[in-house]
C-alpha cells in the first residue's frame, strides 16, 4: 500500500473515476499552482473498485467547482483543516457554465465574435445535455 502523507489544510478530491485524475488536474489548472498537489491513481475503493484521488494544499478558492461539477458531479470534495475532514461537498451538474466549454457550431455568433463568453445551460439533467445559450446547439461531452 502506497503511503501519502496527510494534509494539514487543503482539499481532497475523492471518488474520481480511475484514470481521470490527470484530465482533472489540467482542466482545473492545478499544473499552474505553486502549492503541493498529490495525485493518487488506481487507489482501492469499496464503492468503485478503483478510483483516483487528488490532494491539494490550501483553500477552496483554488478550485473551480463549476468546472468540476461539469466534468464529473460524482466526485466528492473534502475540505481538510487541522488534518480532519471538516466538510464534505457533493457536486451537482451546474445549471449554467461559463467559459468552461466552447460552442463548436460554425453558425453560432460566438464563432465570429471572439470576446463573447461561451455560456451553456443544462437543458436536460437526465441525459446531462448542455446547450449553447446563443444557438442552442447541443454540446456532446
Amino acid at each position: 500500500m502506497l503511503n501519502i502523507s496527510g494534509l494539514n489544510e487543503g482539499i481532497v478530491l475523492d471518488h474520481i473515476e480511475a484514470g481521470k485524475s490527470l484530465d482533472i488536474y489540467y482542466h482545473l489548472g492545478l499544473d499552474k499552482l505553486e502549492c503541493q498537489v498529490a495525485i493518487i491513481k488506481n487507489a482501492r475503493s469499496s464503492k468503485m473498485g478503483r478510483k483516483d484521488i487528488i490532494k491539494i494544499e490550501g483553500g477552496l478558492d483554488k478550485l473551480d467547482l463549476q468546472m468540476l461539477g461539469y466534468i464529473d458531479h460524482n466526485i466528492t470534495v473534502n475540505i481538510i483543516q487541522d488534518n480532519k475532514i471538516v466538510e464534505k461537498k457533493t457536486l451537482k451538474l451546474p445549471k449554467k457554465i461559463t467559459n468552461v466549454i466552447k460552442c463548436k457550431n460554425p453558425r453560432c455568433i460566438t464563432s465570429i465574435e471572439q470576446e463573447l463568453p461561451h455560456v451553456f445551460y443544462l437543458a436536460d439533467e437526465r441525459t446531462e445535455t448542455y446547450r449553447c445559450m446563443y444557438c442552442e446547439e447541443k454540446y456532446g461531452k
Binding site: 453558425r107 455568433i109 465574435e113 444557438c135 442552442e136
Partner: protein
Amino acid sequence: MRHMLNPLDFSVEEIDRLLSLASDIEHNLPKYAHVCDGKKLATLFYEPSTRTRLSFESAMLSLGGSVLGFSSADSSSAAKGESVSDTIRTISCYADIAAMRHPKEGSALVASQASSIPVINAGDGGHQHPTQTLTDLMTIRSLNGKLNNMTIGLCGDLKFGRTVHSLINAMVRYPDIRFVLIAPDELRIPSYIREDVLKANKVEFKEVNNLDEAMPELDILYMTRVQKERFFNEEDYIRLKDCYILDKKKMKLARENMYVLHPLPRVNEISTEVDSDPRAAYFKQVQYGVYVRMALIMTLLEVEKPC
C-alpha cells in the same frame, strides 16, 4: 423592457393578446395611423431580405413612425469589424426599437443583452424567425377562427425548414393539434423535434411520404421550399426539389375549408394555377405579416391601444 427573440418567450396568453391586437389593426387600420408618431424603427439587416425588411418598414410606417437602417453587412460598420453589441449600443441612441436579421445564430440574443431599446429577432441564421411564426399563427387563427383542434399538414423540407420547426414548437402549446408530416426520407423532421417536442408533449402526429393520401384529412397545409443553399450536393437537391408540387389536381382532394400556407418565396412547389383557388392563403399570409408586426412593435414599445 421586452424583446422578441423566440416565439416561446411569450406565453400563450400574451400571444393571444398580440394576435387580437393584430386582428383589430386589420379591421380598423386608420385608427392606428398615428400611434407611433415620432417613434423610429431601426432595421439592421446584415443579410439580404426583401419580404421581412419591407414588412417591418411597412408596419412602422403604417403606425405613423419612421424607419432607418441598413440592408447588408457591407453597408454597416460590421464590414469594419464592429461587434453586434457595439452596433446595437450605437443604434440605441438613434432609434426606439430595432429589428435585426443576422446570418449567425444567437446574434439577436447578443444584441438584446447590450441594447437599451427593444430588439426584434428578424431571423438569426437557421435558428429562429419569430415574426414568421407569429404571422403563421395569425393566418391560421384568422382563417380558421381558432388555434386548437385541427390537423396541420407540413410538407416539403421538414429537416432544414426553420419555419416548420418554429411553427410546431408554437402549435404544440394549443390543445388537440395533430400533425401530418409529409416529406421524403432524406428531409424528415429532425429527431429532436420528434422526441423533445412532439412526443414529449404527447402530440398526435404521423410521418408520410405521400401528399395525395394526406390531403383529405388536413385543415391546414403548410408548404415549404426545398432550399438549394442547404445542400452540399447539387444532385441531391435536383432529386428532391420536385418531390411535392401542389397543383389543381391535388387541391381537388382537399376539403373545401382547408387553407394552403407558405412562408414564401416559392419556387415551383405550388403551381401558379393554385393561386386563384380561394383556399390559397399565402399572399394573405404576407398581409397578416404586416399586421402582426404592427401589433408587435406597439406591444414592445408599450404603446396604448387607441380608443
